[in-house]
Amino acid sequence: MSKFAINGQLILLPEVSTTNSHLPTPRKHSAPSSSHELLNNAPSPRFPSLICCCSSPNRNTEPSSSGHLLKSLGKSLFFGSISPAASQFSSTFSGGGGGGDGGLWRDLFSLATPVAVADEKHSPDWDSHGLPANIVVQLNKLSGLKKYKISDVLFFDRRSKTTAPAEDSLSEMVPIHPGEIHTKAQLQNDLETLTSSGMFEKVDLLGNTKPDGTLGLTFSFVESTWKSAERFRCINVGLMTQPKPVPTDSDMTDREMIEYYRNQEKDYKRRIDKARPCMLPGPVQREMMLMLRDQKNVSASLLRRIGDRVVKWYRDNGYAYANVTNFGSLNSKELVCEVSEGDITRVVIQFQDKLGNVVEGHTQIPIIHREIPKQLRPGHVLNMKAANQAVKNIFSLNLFSNVEIIPRADEKNEGGVIVEINLREADKKSAEVSTEWNIVPGPGGAPSLESFQPGGSVSFEHKNIHGLNRTFMGSVTTSNLLNPEDDLAFKLEYVHPHLDGVYNSRNRIFKTSAFNSRKLSPVFTGGPGFEELVPPLVVDRVGLKANITENFTRQSKSTYGLVLEEITTRDGNIQICKSGMRLLPDGGTSDDGPPTTLSGTGVDRVAFLQANVTRDNTKFVNGAIVGDRTVFQVDQGLGIGSKCPFFNRHQLSLTKFIQLKRVKEGSGIPQPPVLVLHGHYGSCVGDLPSYESFAIGGPNSVRGYTMGELGAARNILELSAEIRVPVKNTHVYAFAEHGNDLGSSKDVKGNPTAAYRRMGHGSSYGLGVKLGQVRAEYAVDHNRGTGAFFLRFGERY
């Protein structure tokens, strides 16, 4: 059973990460620090071998079948590929096989299944052959009552007089392995299987007695051969009914025989014409053709090789359920390879409870349906990549604790596959309260509580409201839950996906959240040499944000919405301050710096519209990003708020990742060298409070400087270039950047750039190396001429 399951969890923590650790067990991973861990347990389906066997044309080895066989186009050689995962296919195959008996298939499978072997392995005892050592024994001379231990298995090709190597697929056809114990009946059965497989004209089994009582086996065989073919054709026979064999009468006249075969031939031609073309690409087909031409005649081993190659292509491309079922039109110019590609006939979505019982789900089915990629819908060929993607997509809905996709053979449609998606729903609601009290020595010396008011945090989440993946969540943290002080941090959020309805292909997400944040202002920082003289200024924001996001592609999207915000500027002691400060030599501070707010009171209220359009067609080429990205953002003030702020603030950033060399895509192939060009322009019109001005300098603006080290301005222009050179499976890069205020620093109230002795513009250059998600770089600040080493998470562009 090849199963694709993702098991993981998302813990809400400030640390956010993406990771994909490949762990061998799908155990619950409960590392408290991991916030987003994708545990991907997707063992690639193992198809150990191809069992090649044939049922109908076995008569060509029999004396009764005469020369007419040479013309038998309609005759087909069946190829079956089995795997532990495909055991459910056995029933499908049983009906097939032009004229052969289905039971044979079953026998074959039962022999091939490792379970049977494994059972025998455990049987404790075996019998010695009881014969003199080193003599050759015919199979029929062996005792039917004894259990023989097999010490080795050899394959001897009588035609070429060579011993086939053990790793040859031949050995996989025979379910006998050294060290195992078999009875005579089993061996006879195996031999019969081989004889009837159509691969061989003749197969014999000889025993070779060993001194230690074990038995060595030698299969000596002569392969079947057919006339050489020139062309190769591959057809998709999935979902087609196998032709019903017309019973042949043993006492047919030759004429009737010819008529019969001609009919079969005609049927087969029709069948080929009806068949859908298969996905096997031209180059691979040509490769097969070359394989055919190289050989004088078509031998069973060649067919086996061709079959292996074809199946390999399918496996490599993710079509895990594709099988070569048959080789047709043997002894003709054109060899026909019939492939059952594994067409999806049905997709079943079902929910399981924690005990694995199938239950009614809470989630509405369309929600899940949306996440299934097209390639996994009925009418498409099952591709494991698509299945993998589906698992990921569904899992990223964050509604399920376990997602499994199990492909099953469709019993009603031959060659069809039913995709079963098993989901285990996670808890819908969760709430957590954690509180803390401190104990201090009380008045009498006895320990007592510091205060009865608990400090701590409350968080809650209600997921999947109405089964439509709507989420309401919130968290509150404060040192006093009963009477919160200034240190209250809160967040409330409601997310409403599929705004246009679940069935609408347009996916707009409505999200509204109320929260607060308290961050350092990059506007009120000192320039070089003045860092210590400017005390930090905290920008305290609290407000409401509501927006609608529409995803066009995976990466391109647009967002628009409304923001209501109250901004308070505070000094280091959380006291409201109205203007920028600086330290005086006597240790005091002066507060005659630039005003921090528009209103001048230290508190601003503002309402504005916000929009963002991202066009992003970057993609990964062997791990390197290639393509281009354009982001346009605009804030439009509505004239509502303190001092009726009316403003427009817009930014455009363009990034181009130019691939400098063509490379083949695939794992293990190095990345191409990439040149990155980036430009960012921002501008403000109208009322501009200093906290909204553009800060120049910083890891995402001009590297080599700290945030805002170059200034705060009304208009900015940033230009940068980076060249990335692949080294092993990562890259090193060199960059040069420049940021400029375009002389607009003086237009910011109080000119904070000049007041804190900043340059207003600056360049930097440096070298770096990307280690996974981390970039380690050495950047030289061109203004000062000094360099520094930085470690950063994520890309700069």
């Binding site: 620090s33 239950v359 969760s430 957590e432 009380g442 409350v458 009963l482 916000q610 963002n612 981390v774």
Partner: protein
Amino acid sequence: MKGFIDWVFDLSNSLASSSRPLLGTPPFSRHNEAHHTHSQAPALPEPVSRSEAPCSTSGDLEAQPPISHQNIPLESLYQSSTDLNDKKHNPLAKIGDLQVQFLRLVQRFGQSQNNILVSKVLYRVHLAMLIRAEESELKTVKLKQDRAKALAREQESSGVPELDFSLRILVLGKTGVGKSATINSIFGQSKSETDAFQPSTDRIEEVTGTVSGVKVTFIDTPGLHQPSPSSARKNRKTLMSIKRYVKKRPPDVVLYLDRLDMIDMRYSDSPLLSLVTDVLGAAIWLNTILVMTHSSTASEGRNGQSVNYESYVGQRMDVVQHYIHQAVSDTKLENPVLLVENHPSCRKNPAGEYVLPNGQVWKPQFMFLCVCTKVLGDVQSLLRFRDSIGLGQPSSTRTASLPHLLSVFLRRRLSSGGDEAEKEIDELMDSELEEEEDEYDQLPAIRILGKSRFEKLSKSQKKEYLDELDYRETLYLKKQLKEECRRRRDEKLKEEEDLTEQSDQAAVPLPDMAGPDSFDFDFPAHRYRCIATSDQWLVRPVYDPQGWDHDVGFDGINIETAVKIKKNLFASGNGQVSRDKQRFTIHSETNAAYTTTTDSRIQTFSVAADVQSSGDDLVYSFQGGTKVKTFKHNTTDFGLGLTSFGGKYYLAGKVEDSLLVGKRVKLTVNAGQMKGSGETAHGGSFEACIRGRDYPVRNEQIGVTVTALSFNRELVLNWGLQTQVRPTRDTNLDVNVNMNNRKMGKINVKLNSSEHWEIALISAFTLFKALMRRKKAVSEITNDDEEEL
């Protein structure tokens, strides 16, 4: 001259403090009184010196104490014999020479030996000698000074031998303060080109001349520019070239020039001072004399009123000194100050020397101060004191707390490879694997109810039904766990065959990361996009909620890795690191374990290395240990540790034993000791833990911990109680209580539930309260505003 005195004083103080055991009581605080002369260190341990004390207080240098007279011949004999052998090696002898030279110069510059400065320098020299002198030499030292004085007088009058004293002076300062002009004034001739309006020195020049028989070399440097963002680069370049120059030929004295007539209370030059410190090193200020040029300019006070010249100079000096303090972050440093006037029309005395408004003749003063500085500097370097005088924040104040280190050491468990918890569970399950059949399989079948049918049930039925499901779930999970264990065990056996099997994961881009909330535009998810890799490295950003406004706030990086190098060699590491322009913090733990299995005994050897930054320093700790499974359910742990912090080393050792009683009780006892910098701390802990019946499927447990730490005869006991219970299904309750014998403690209660969503209402209450409070505050503010109006 107060500055200089204090400076000498401070240095001597710092020396004294470092050598207190030798000197006994240090009553230095009264030293700036002129009565105390150089000849006596007030607290010499010898009784002889005490007897001298009355004589010395007379302050008359001419009156030589009789005792020393008697001793001279003896001493000189002794001295001369040792001189020959030791002159080259013995720093004391060299200092003696220096002392003589200094005394000669004192005479030459016409300074009285009663001069405070002279006495201070001599005192310092003496002190330095005392500190360095060994026990046997103490007497010699004591008497040497008097002999030196006589020698100096003798030599100076005869002029033989020629005075071999040279000065190298580095001149620093902004452009136009008069660096070159000062040099010219000293030599009395125009040796260096000057210009009143333009910077005239554009490269480092050496100007050499002789003043009063002393060879003086000035290193004239290009002026530094008024600090501004654009000049920073130029200034740094200039300073770098000075640094290179100075490295080759170090100066004896550094002059930092500034104009006295520039009034700037904000002192915008502070970035310049920090830059100088940054490039040339903080030690440069130890030998620096502040020189105020344009000193005769009529001075005006801050408010335009003319102020006393002295107080004006004092004020001006204080500002500069303050910023130097800030630059080196050490307030103890006191630089001497010189006033200089180079203007040709400056008032002159009859001898043709420039005279300052306060009547001082500055040139000899200048030379003399330079000589003093050099002599002191030489003494220091000869005795290698400079290294011991650290500028900046004294690092010695930050000492590691031994009890803290010990408790960390005791708590730090060395991993023995693989997933610890997994192993323990495996062990637990091992016994169960064989004996019991799965209870779950023996349960009768249950019909899962549909939603509508479930709704129809009565309340009690619902409860029963859910409880039944819960019970089954527990059993089911147990069964799964067992299967998991079995599988893992099988895998372990198989593992030996193929370790290399790794599935080739297709490169699939991971879903975009969700960022923290902000009022800005969307989170720039594109920066954090990546491809799923089957790396063993787990890298995550560290979010700093107090980061920069308009920035995501990913400030550091968290890295975790675990590698199985070989079958029984296992390494893991995790750490958090952030590296920025100014700051570097790291907190990392690495661990390697090697497991050997001999017979039934499993032994694990582990080593660990941890690095943690604490302020600007790094704490390194190494730990090695071995874990032996002595008998079933009992493991013993031995550990050794070495911690290094701020140049100090702490050695520790511990023993730990953990015993499993039955399946549900675990006892752990450990004890350890840590030694370092002459102190010892002992500690130990006891831990008992009772697990719930369904452990490890349901994580219910009660634990008691007692830890004891003793340090400096003080014992700190700490006890704690940890409980994890599951009062109803879908609800977990954790209660932690911690107390110590100082009656301080903490109670933590944590409750989470997936059923009882009502507890979230607490947050509604909190938010409501916050809103009310805010409204009140706002109305107060508006009221205030109205009142103001």
